[in-house]
């Protein structure tokens, strides 16, 4: 199961966080700080999976942005690693070359896309068109 998904920039600031198990606000900050410590300073040649407490962290870097997913050990690491890439491709498709700012200014939309892909800690949809469908419908409504 996926426990959480974080988008963190190189300065260690959280840009998006989604928890699939309830975590107190106070504890989130500590957890995110630890995750930053675990993942951000790793070198290129080190592997993308880090053991952290009861979870495994799967992380992937895109320019200055890190995406870190916390999973339990019944999840397939490589498939999550590619799920992250799929998510980025969805964002890319929607924002047309996504940047950190797009995510900050459109948190609600990023959340919609994420909810279409992962629900309750499980992968629910991987087809890019279907992930984007509700959002595009929404945009159409806003235009009219």
């Amino acid at each position: 199961m996926i426990k959480f998904l974080l988008m963190i920039n190189k300065q260690g600031q959280t840009r998006l966080s989604k928890y699939y198990d309830h975590v107190d606000v106070g504890k989130r900050a500590a957890l995110e700080a630890n995750v930053v410590k675990c993942c951000l300073f790793r070198k290129k040649e080190e592997c993308s999976f880090v053991e952290y407490k009861d979870y495994k962290l799967v992380y992937r870097q895109y320019a200055a942005l890190f995406i870190v997913v916390g999973i339990t050990d019944d999840e397939n690491e490589l498939s999550i690693y590619e799920l992250v890439h799929n998510f980025i491709e969805v964002l890319d498709k929607y924002f047309n070359r996504v940047s950190e700012l797009d995510i900050m200014f459109n948190l609600d939309k990023v959340h919609i896309m994420l909810d279409e892909m992962i629900l309750n800690g499980c992968i629910v949809e991987t087809n890019k068109n279907r992930i984007l469908a509700p959002l595009l419908a929404l945009d159409k409504m806003a235009e009219s």
Binding site: Y81, E82, F105, T126, M141
Partner: protein, 955 residues
């Protein structure tokens, strides 16, 4: 794609975010946020109704603030109001706010539930999805109560849209996890399973998570999913990469779904149906074949997706553990990955191979990669990969390669990361023990371990080496020699001093023939380390010194000198001081024979599961020890070199140990004493958690639990004269003597059990109530006593009562024994206590005048009718206390009988079924000398003698 401008028209939001980004300090940021929060609060409270756009903007701001780590304590109501809006955008932002910010115990749940109910019945698929997402995200008990009946219907209904089905599946999973009692699958089971056949891949992807969870809980009911999953998988695997259109990812058809199908199959054993199994094996072979085909794309995404499926397929092959052909192919595939340039693949291959190593079919195949793995341990730049390599070496180790692997791990330890050293040390210790063919190699390895990574050598490790040296007499001489050499190093680790002290204290004599390691040289070497050591180590060394006095009488004066010096005998640490004082006294008072008995060589430890293995399991957590490792333990534990014995086998040897404690013969008693006294010179120590118990590898107090209590009193007996106590040792004597003059109280108590008694006597009859109290929170099972049947289960914290009736047939001197057996946490506990039934309990007091008393006294003047003892007062000579004790004895206390008012005289008749025995007693205290003279006269000589013995311990 629509042209999305930054901020999408929400200028206020853009301004706020850039303000935050421009803040130079945390303080400035907090100030800006507080300003914004005040602004939003006033907007929400304001009279002017906000339009949907503003509400959305403010909720976005709140989300952003929340993300920065600030708790949001308002806005919830506004969000709930948005839910009932008819505009999709507003509804959507309301749901988003709630799923991010509302936790499952919010008071708003009822209102939220209402909105959800409306949306679910709206038949508008987008609204339904929003509502279902919300349930899946919040998932409270109340939501389960409200919707658990509704959602399965939505999930399987024929006219439900695919996207709604997907949300409904994961929503149901959430409710099943929070409140399994409310989600009744019964009638839906088969229709849910058939979702695996759904034409829509998205529905299958969502449903499979639900089915996997349900299958884990109710495997039988969902069994039919196996064949459906196999056929689905087969269709995906054999499809051309273009067949599945949008579900193809970089030329790999439906990688995530394939992984999930393979994962679902891991909930079940191999399919029984031959056709299904054949199809599955074909799938797995196809997956393995594809790994060898040239890649369809150079993109890393392609190979990652392909390998994700491959690793999952290998996991399934390992799970089945029944297809040697597939297992070997899997191993070869992983072997290729071990040298792949992608670190991720090397990491995963090492991890996967670790489980492969425990299969009997592939163990040999895994072993062929040993050089690669050793190389990985040495050259990998990522510590987590090195850690996996170490794990794999541990898993692939067997008798044939143990020496090589242990040597490699030892040399790696010198440079290993601090974070993994302790675990490495444990692993080396376990392997060295498990595969030791000659024990000199084992001893060398452990001593090397202490030399290289002494700080990481936990107690379990050095306890274990001592246990093994004690139990194997063929290695004792070598161990003494090696440890003696190791101690020559100018700086050696404290753990080395501990092992050295213990081993030389036991077996120093084996190397004393060599003048280079003569007794005095040994002692001086040990003592040269003394001052650099911590208190527990010094305490151990003091015990080693007293053992030296026994081993080498020629060292006696030197050691006594050391013990006598102020830094020992006046040490501020009470344990050290007590040991110094007691050992000094013991060495000067006790005869060589007594000394030899007390300080006899340690008896062999009972054989049991290695405490180190237990520690490694604990360290890794119960789930972390792979099933393979446990099985391996099962397979080999029974006979590994004769001394690593698993739980079942250790049972008889534990019984041996306990018969040792209860046996009345003097030799095992002395052995037992020497065992406990090595660590417990004083009864004082018993209150602290006992290191000797740990040394024995016991996790609970176990059979020895009674020993520390008796050890103290035994030592006292040794000092006075090795008298009758020897025959009763091992049995709790202490409690027994306290009950001569009283009938109620606590008879026995240790960390596990408390036994209280209450008793009453009339003439030659008595009744005793025994109360067994379980002091732990864990149930005792198979609880039994030798007296009569009692409830075999004693719950944690509970008390069990037992009533016994007693009849005195004739006079007696030995108390009846009470044996108690029970299991606590798997370990058999065995206790032997003397029931405090003494001859004096059957006294009838007899009042008589001074004249009568002295007349009878004279009548009982034959020498054997009198028993007399002169002894020192153990308690303050308080007249009132003395009187109370004599009354408690059961006799009549006669006033104005003895011409000396300081003296006490008593009279009584002991009632037995066979006869009545008159007794007279005279107790003469001498306050100046703090001595008593006790005289008893009785018509029966044995009674006088026994009473005298009993009473002399009371004052």
């Amino acid at each position: 794609m629509p042209a999305v401008s930054k901020g999408d028209g929400m200028r206020g939001l853009a301004v706020f975010i850039s303000d935050i980004r421009n803040c130079k300090s945390k303080e400035a940021e907090i100030k800006r946020i507080n300003k914004e929060l005040a602004n939003i609060r006033s907007k929400f409270k304001g009279d002017k109704a906000l339009d949907g756009y503003s509400k959305k903007k403010y909720v976005c701001k709140l989300l952003f603030i929340f993300l920065l780590g600030h708790d949001i304590d308002f806005g919830h109501m506004e969000a709930v109001n948005l839910l009932s809006s008819n505009k999709y955008t507003e509804k959507q932002i309301g749901y988003l706010f709630i799923s991010v910010l509302v936790n499952s115990n919010s008071e708003l749940i009822r209102l939220i539930n209402n909105a959800i109910k409306n949306d679910l019945s709206s038949r508008n698929p987008t609204f339904m999805c929003l509502a279902l997402h919300c349930i899946a995200n919040v998932g409270s008990r109340e939501m389960a109560e409200a919707f658990a009946g509704e959602i399965p219907r939505i999930l399987v209904a024929g006219d439900t849209m695919d996207s709604v089905k997907q949300s409904a599946a994961l929503c149901l999973l959430r409710l099943y996890k929070t409140s399994p009692d409310l989600v009744l699958m019964g009638e839906w089971t088969s229709r849910v399973v058939h979702l695996l056949n759904d034409q829509h891949m998205g529905v299958v992807t969502a449903a499979i998570s639900l089915i996997t969870c349900l299958s884990q809980k109710n495997p039988d009911e969902f069994k039919t999913c196996v064949s459906l999953a196999v056929s689905r998988l087969s269709r995906i695997v054999s499809s051309a990469s273009t067949d599945l259109q949008d579900y193809t990812y970089y030329f790999v058809p439906a990688p995530w779904l394939s992984c999930k199908l393979l994962r679902l199959l891991q909930c079940y054993p191999p399919p029984e149906d031959g056709a299904v199994k054949g199809r599955l094996v074909e799938c797995l072979e196809t997956i393995l074949n594809k790994a060898q085909e040239p890649p369809k794309s150079k993109k890393v995404q392609h190979s990652n997706a392909k390998n994700a499926i491959l690793f999952e397929a290998i996991a399934l092959i390992i799970h089945y553990d029944s297809e040697p052909n597939l297992l070997v192919r899997a191993c070869n595939q992983l072997g290729q990955f071990l040298q792949h340039r992608e670190t991720n693949l090397r990491y995963l291959a090492l991890e996967s191979m670790c489980t492969l190593a425990s299969s009997e079919f592939s163990h040999e195949a895994v072993k062929t990669h040993i050089e690669t793995v050793i190389n990985a341990l040495k050259t990998e730049r990522d510590v987590s990969v090195r850690q996996r390599a170490a794990d794999l070496l541990y898993a692939m180790c067997d008798r044939s390669n143990a020496k090589q692997i242990v040597a490699e791990m030892l040399s790696y330890l010198e440079t290993a990361d601090y974070s993994i050293r302790e675990e490495m040390v444990l692993k080396v210790a376990i392997l060295a023990e498990k595969y030791a063919v000659d024990y000199s190699w084992y001893v060398d390895t452990i001593l090397n371990l202490i030399r290289i990574a002494g700080d990481y050598v936990s107690e379990e490790v050095w306890y274990r080496v001592i246990q093994i040296v004690i139990n194997r007499d063929d290695v004792q001489g070598y161990a003494a020699k090696t440890v003696f050499e190791a101690l020559q190093a100018p700086a050696c680790h404290e753990n080395m001093v501990k092992v050295g002290g213990y081993i030389l204290g036991e077996f120093g004599n084996l190397i004393a023939g060599d003048p280079r390691s003569s007794p005095l040289v040994q002692f001086n070497l040990l003592h040269s380390k003394f001052h650099l050591c911590s208190v527990p180590t010094r305490a151990l060394l003091l015990s080693a010194y007293i053992k030296f006095i026994n081993l080498f009488p020629e060292t006696k004066s030197t050691i006594q000198e050391v013990l006598r010096c102020d830094s020992q005998i006046r040490n501020s640490d009470v344990e050290l001081q007590q040991r110094a004082v007691e050992y000094l006294k013991l060495s000067s008072i006790a005869s060589t024979d007594v000394l030899a008995t007390v300080l006899e060589e340690m008896p062999p430890f009972p054989e049991r599961e290695s405490s180190i293995l237990a520690k490694l399991k604990k360290k890794k957590g119960p789930g972390a020890v792979s099933a393979g490792e446990l099985e391996e333990g099962k397979r080999e534990g029974g006979e590994v070199n004769g001394w690593e014995v698993n739980q079942q086998k250790s049972e008889p040897s534990q019984e041996n140990a306990s018969s040792l404690t209860t046996s009345p013969s003097p030799t095992p008693t002395a052995m037992h004493l020497s065992l406990t006294s090595f660590f417990f010179p004083s009864s004082l120590s018993q209150s602290t958690p006992s290191p000797s118990a740990d040394l024995l590898g016991l996790r609970s107090a176990a059979p020895v639990s009674a020993a520390p209590v008796s050890a103290g009193s035994l030592l006292v007996d040794v000092f006075s004269e090795a008298g009758p106590a020897a025959s009763t040792a091992g049995v709790n004597d202490d409690g027994f003597l306290r009950f001569v003059c009283k009938n109620n109280g606590v008879l026995f108590e240790n960390q596990l059990l408390q036994i209280g008694i209450k008793s009453e006597y009339r003439q030659n009859l008595g009744r005793m109530y025994l109360f067994y109290g379980n002091k732990t929170s864990v149930q005792f099972v198979s609880f039994s006593t030798t007296l009569k049947p009692v409830d075999p289960l004693v719950e944690g914290g509970a008390q069990v009562q037992q009533v016994i009736n007693i009849e005195c047939l004739s006079d007696f001197s030995d108390a009846p024994l009470l044996n108690i057996k029970f299991r606590y946490g798997g370990a058999l506990q065995n206790l032997s206590l003397k029931l405090p039934v003494t001859i004096n309990k059957f006294f009838q007091p007899t009042e008589m005048s001074s004249h009568d008393f002295f007349q009878r006294w004279k009548q009982l003047s034959q020498p054997q009718q009198e028993a007399q003892k002169i002894f020192k007062a153990n308690h303050p000579m308080d007249t009132e206390v003395l009187k109370a004790k004599l009354l408690g004895l059961g006799t009549a206390l006669l006033d104005n009988v003895d011409p000396n008012p300081e003296n006490f005289v008593c009279a009584g008749v002991i009632q037995t079924k066979a006869q009545q025995i008159g007794c007279l007693l005279r107790l003469e205290p001498n306050a100046q000398a703090q001595m008593y003279r006790l005289t008893l006269r009785s018509s029966k000589d044995t009674v006088a003698k026994r009473l005298c013995e009993l009473l002399s311990e009371q004052f």
